[in-house]
Structure formats: structure tokens, C-alpha cells
Symmetry: C2
Subunit: 398 residues, 2 copies
């Protein structure tokens, strides 16, 4: 039996905490745990030195396949409309030799080094690239499987209805390894929301898979799309299977209407995944939670043709969520941390998660006095444990 | 004569650049500069290894005196109104033993280590503390004078009209070392904007000093304050002597009204200093620049009783400015960098600035391919030169 005993850590509530890991799972948590009797020789001990103990971090929305992380700088001269960025990227990917396997592995490893152990990534599926990007990310998923739990969303970045054959490619993607069906702006991109959503839900229903939709649509257009989705979720019994990524429209409503929408979402078990962009309206974290809607955090793309920004660091993302939502008190920053830990795992459906006996032993030690400091200062991770093994120290993979 | 020759750097335009520094000033810039003849023995050479050469960074709005940087974490349980934060802080400062001298030195040094060589700090002046905080920051100013050029704003954080004796303390502050008169929300805090601004401008006129006002006032209230200021600037000949910090109201106007306000500001030489908070409306960087208004960047408070956030890193602040203003293209990120370099120096009136012959030799070497990468990735500074001497390497003071 493989054992690891973490000593001298502190739990989020400030209490001293030791953690005993056996065969990749948390076997015990408590103060001053003893080494298991009769197994001393086979138990490695790790002194946390008083560091804060966090569960492995959760990235709920990124695009591993399209990053240039670790590669030469991408000079961005792109126009500012959504369609400019979509077309620019698809053409660049077709001609630049950019490789989704290499890119996703580099960025996945960087996420792991910074303590992310569960990650949902959207992978572009389109009629130019076919399943090429998916194949690359599947290879990364397999290579990192014992350390980084990657969920793959088959994502039609260029839209579905207007590009014949995309639905068949999504269907194939879900047969060949994608876990979740992604989608994009049924009004603004597909131009026929009822037809678009019918195709989406039919595919999800066929594969019995969850859905995660990029909803950039602003204001009343976005609200209309949400209403069309709610009707279909109820009709098809898709409760607790749908996540709304972005959902900018929820940041534009007055409180009364927003809260009515959120109440409906709570009822249907629809989660929200926010990247908390500083330049867009965003779903308010505190309002979602008050309404009983799970809200998780993600980076969106990291250093790609869309954006020069981002870092594979979910504590930094928690800080961005805190800044965007004007969270300042310590108890509020703990909520930002929750968005990239427990709420993230709930939104994505990652199982056996958390600092609890029986869970997969994914843990992060960070030199911070409490959750608020971990978020605001987001120091380099002292130690990352994934699947029961130490995988990184001081921000570097071991 | 003290000489330093920096070799093998790259200028912002990508061209190879060597820099010869003599007695703390830039003596020559060019490709493959030779060591000065006959002075070889006394010239130190620094190999930049192809790093990007930036001018020393400029922090245009911070509060060195109130930080807990490098001290135990401040647990924030404060209410969310502006007056809650003001009162909470004043009481905490009176009772906690917090020392403005020690705090400002710690944060000033951290700024320097990250390449900031010019800095404007607002120092709280109020009837509880008197000039105590100013004395602490004056000591830091003196101690760092040859490396970090600190401008001190005498800032009535608790307001003026309602707290008798504050105006006299500001008067004394300006006699005893403060460089600039600060002010705060003439409507929202002082409750009598005409009287408040009359006191402010009379004090500035008496001391012949510039003004930098914290204008948090939203919407039409803020616009009204701006109009009252414009009238007085014109009447008193205070053109090119006034900066508006925050100016959130400018982020709330429709384009036509906003541009009319900006045109007036350009005409009066009123600068804008933005901290680009993700949760507030902000003056649009590109609109300010298009109108001919100088706009600079600052952190505001860093890890204090107001906010847990912030870092003494002006490249990270440039990133926040870029994110808040949705700047994505390389040429747009170069604008974000300008806010914390040349535009910052112009807004604050820092003289002899920049990568040019004759300027004070304040330089930063950073491992980035261009301005955009320096902003988005903001890597640890490879080398910081201040007043002609190497003061930090790899983010650590030497």
C-alpha cells in the first residue's frame, strides 16, 4: 500500500490538520495523525510547515487546445468583433502548424504545477479542422490522467447551423471521447435559436451527456436564449445537466428580473461558469449563490489568438472573480476561492472531490494564513498533490 | 566619472539597443556602443542578454502610508460604503500601532524591485493623525531619494469641511514637504462643493502646487464637480496643474457628452489617473487619448484596510488597465504600457524621464519580446537601474 502523510498543515478554518493518503485517496484527516501502525517503512511523510491546505483547484472553463503558452508570442492584429476573432483563429489554426496536442499538454502541465487537478476544456470542432484538435487533447487527457482530471467539451466554435456537417462532427466527437456537448450563441451566431437549440438538445439527449453553452449574447437576446433553453431543459428532463458559460446577459438585468431568472435556473439545476472579465457585464457571484445557483470560475482562453492575457493559476482567477465582483472582506474572498474549488467541482460534476475522507487525494499547500490571503496574494504553490502523489513543488513539476 | 554600459538590449521598436550611462544620466543610446575611450577601467558593463529595455515604471496613484505589505494579514470585516471604509481605517490607524514610515519603506522598496522608479503617493492628513503619516513617508522619500523619486500628495482622506482644522493641516503639510495638494469628493464627502473647491484652489494657489483630486462621485454628481473645477481652473490659471484620480463618472456618460467633457479637459490640461478597477465604470483609456487627455495608471491602495488586492508591479497594473479597457491587440497593449511609463510621467510632471539622452538613467530590463508580452506576461524584472545604478536583479533588491 502506498501511503503519504502530510503533517503540520492548516485547514481553511485555521485548525491544525494532518492528512493521511492511502492508495491515492484521503484515508484520514485530523490533528497530529500517527503513522499507520506496522506500516511505518512504507509511509512517506511531508512536512507542510504550517502551510494552508486547499483541495486541488478546479478550472471550469478554458481552451487548452488553442493556446500558444510556452511558444513564441502571438502578435495580435485582429479586429474586435466576435466573428473577426472566430474567423481569424480558424484560419490561423489551419495555416500556422499550431498543434493542439502539444499546446494542451504544455498548458495542462502548467495548470497542474499551479495546483489545478480538475479541468474542463472546450475543444474546437469545425468543418475545417474536423476532429484534429480533439485528438490532440485526448492524447493530453490520457497522458495526464493520473494527475489532472480533464473533461473535454466538444465545442463548435464556428457555429453549427451555418456550417453543414458540424453536427455530425459533434456526434462523432461524443462517440470518440468528448465528455460534454458545447454550444455557442444560438441567436447571434446560429441565427435560428429554436432550430439551433433543438439540434443541441437532441445531440445531448442521444449521448446522454451534459451541455455547456458559451452564451455571449447580450441583454434581451441572451435572456431570450436562456428562456428557450429552460423550456427544453424542463421538457427533456435535462435538469442538473446544463451549464451556462459567460452568461453576460445576467449581468445586465435589474435585480428583480435577474433574480427571477436565477430562481428558474436554481430550480432546473443550471450552473453558471464565469470568467469574470473586467470589461463585460457578468453574472453577480453573490446573487447567484443567494439564489441557489452554483457558480464556478474559469479563465477562458489563455494567451491565444483571442486574448494575450490569462495564466494557468486558479488562485489568480479567484482574485479576478473577487475584483470583478468587488469582494473585499475575508468572508467574501473565501467565496471567490469556493468558485475555483468546491463550487467548480459541483458545476462540472467532478466526483470524489475535496478535503474529505474517501476523496481522490488532490491537495494544494500554499503559504497563506487563510483563504483570503491565498486568493489576494496567490503565492507560488508550495506543494501540489494529485492522485495521492506529490507532482509539483514551488510551482515546478517534479 | 561613474559609467555603466548596458549591452545587448532591445528597444520597444525591436531594434538592438545599448545604453551608456554616465553619472546617473543616459549619455548615449545606440547599436553596439563602444566603451568610452580611455575610461575602460571605470566602466561597468551589463549584458542584457536580449532583454526588452523599458524606461523606469511610473506609479501615478498609490497610498504607501496605509499598506500592510510585508506585515501580518489584515482581516477585513469592513462595511461596503465609502464612509465605512474611511472611518474603519482612521480608527484602525489610531489604535493598531501601524507605522506609516515602516509601511511606506517596505512598499516603496517592493515597487523599486519591480522596476518602479517614479511614484506619486497620497498620504492621509486628518485631525486625528495630524502630520504623523506624512512624517513617516517623508523619511521614506529621503531614504530612497537616489533610487525612487517619490511625489507626496497631502490627502484629506476624511474630508475637509466637516473636520475643522484639516485645511490648516494641509497648509502645514505643503510647507513641510508635501509636493501636491490632494482632495476628495467635494459633493459626496464635503457636502458643499463650491465651498470645498474654493478652499482647495485657494490652498493650491497659495502654495503654487499642483492638485490631484480623488473623484469617486458617480454620474451627474461627478460631472457637476468636474464642471465646477473647470470653471476655477480657467479663472485661476491652473491649466496643466490638475489631475483627476478615478473619475468614475467619465465612464458613465454617453460618448457625445463624454467627449465634450474630455475636450474641455484637454483644453485645460487636466490629466486623468485611472486604477482601472474591474467593478466600477472607468474613464476609457482610448477615448481619453483620442481627445488629447493624458491618462496614467496607478494601483490605488495595495493590501490595506480598504482592499486585500494589489501588487507593487506596474506591468501587472498595465495588464489590469488593458483588461478593464478590453485592449487585446499588440498595439493596444503598448498603450497600456504607456499609461505606466511616459503618460504616467507626463500626468505627474516627472522631469528628465524616459529612454533618451540626458534623462535620469531609470531603466528596466525584462525578458519579453515586445511591449504586449511585457504587459500580458509581466515577468519578474531581470534588472532594474535607478539613478544610473543597478538596484535590483530578478525581482530582488541588490
Amino acid at each position: 500500500m502506498e501511503r503519504l502523510l502530510i503533517r503540520n498543515a492548516r485547514a481553511l478554518d485555521g485548525a491544525p490538520a494532518d492528512v493521511l493518503i492511502e492508495n491515492g485517496r484521503i484515508a484520514a484527516i485530523g490533528e497530529s495523525l500517527a503513522q499507520p501502525a506496522g506500516a511505518a517503512g512504507r509511509c512517506t511523510t511531508e512536512d507542510a510547515g504550517g502551510a494552508l491546505l486547499l483541495p486541488g483547484l478546479v478550472e471550469a472553463h478554458t481552451h487548452l487546445d488553442k493556446t500558444v503558452w510556452g511558444m513564441p508570442w502571438y502578435v495580435n492584429k485582429c479586429g474586435s468583433r466576435l466573428v473577426d476573432r472566430i474567423d481569424n483563429e480558424r484560419q490561423w489554426r489551419a495555416t500556422s502548424g499550431h498543434d493542439a496536442g502539444r499546446a494542451s499538454l504544455a498548458l495542462g502541465q502548467a495548470f497542474l504545477a499551479a495546483g489545478t487537478t480538475r479541468l474542463r476544456t472546450h475543444v474546437d470542432i469545425d468543418t475545417d479542422a474536423g476532429l484534429r484538435h480533439l485528438e490532440g487533447v485526448l492524447a493530453t487527457q490520457a497522458q495526464l490522467a493520473d494527475r489532472l482530471d480533464i473533461q473535454i467539451v466538444a465545442f463548435p466554435q464556428s457555429g453549427v447551423l451555418d456550417r453543414e456537417g458540424t453536427d455530425a462532427l459533434l456526434d462523432r466527437s461524443l462517440r470518440e471521447g468528448a465528455d460534454i456537448l458545447g454550444w455557442l450563441d444560438p441567436c447571434a451566431i446560429d441565427r435560428d435559436p429554436a432550430a439551433s437549440l433543438d439540434v443541441m438538445f437532441a445531440l445531448a439527449d442521444k449521448h446522454g451527456c451534459p451541455v455547456d453553452i458559451h452564451l455571449h449574447e447580450p441583454g434581451e437576446m441572451g435572456v431570450f436564449t436562456l428562456e428557450l433553453m429552460f423550456e427544453r431543459i424542463a421538457a427533456l428532463g435535462m435538469q442538473h445537466r446544463v451549464a451556462i458559460s459567460h452568461g453576460f446577459c445576467l449581468g445586465e438585468l435589474d435585480e428583480r428580473r435577474r433574480d427571477a431568472m436565477l430562481a428558474r435556473m436554481a430550480d432546473l439545476g443550471v450552473a453558471v461558469i464565469t470568467t469574470a472579465p473586467p470589461s463585460r457585464p457578468v453574472p453577480a457571484v453573490m446573487a447567484c449563490r443567494a439564489a441557489g445557483v452554483t457558480i464556478a470560475g474559469g479563465n477562458d482562453g489563455i494567451r491565444d489568438t483571442w486574448t494575450p492575457y490569462g495564466a494557468p493559476d486558479m488562485l489568480e482567477r479567484a482574485m479576478m472573480i473577487g475584483l470583478r465582483n468587488n469582494l473585499r472582506r475575508d468572508d467574501e474572498l473565501a467565496v471567490a476561492l469556493d468558485c475555483v474549488t468546491y463550487a467548480g467541482a459541483r458545476a462540472c460534476g467532478f466526483a470524489e472531490y475535496g478535503v474529505q475522507v474517501g476523496a481522490r487525494a488532490d491537495l494544494v499547500l500554499v503559504q497563506a494564513g487563510n483563504a483570503a490571503e491565498a486568493v489576494a496574494a496567490h503565492p507560488v504553490r508550495k506543494c501540489v498533490i494529485a492522485g495521492g502523489r506529490i507532482v509539483a513543488r514551488d510551482g515546478v513539476l517534479v
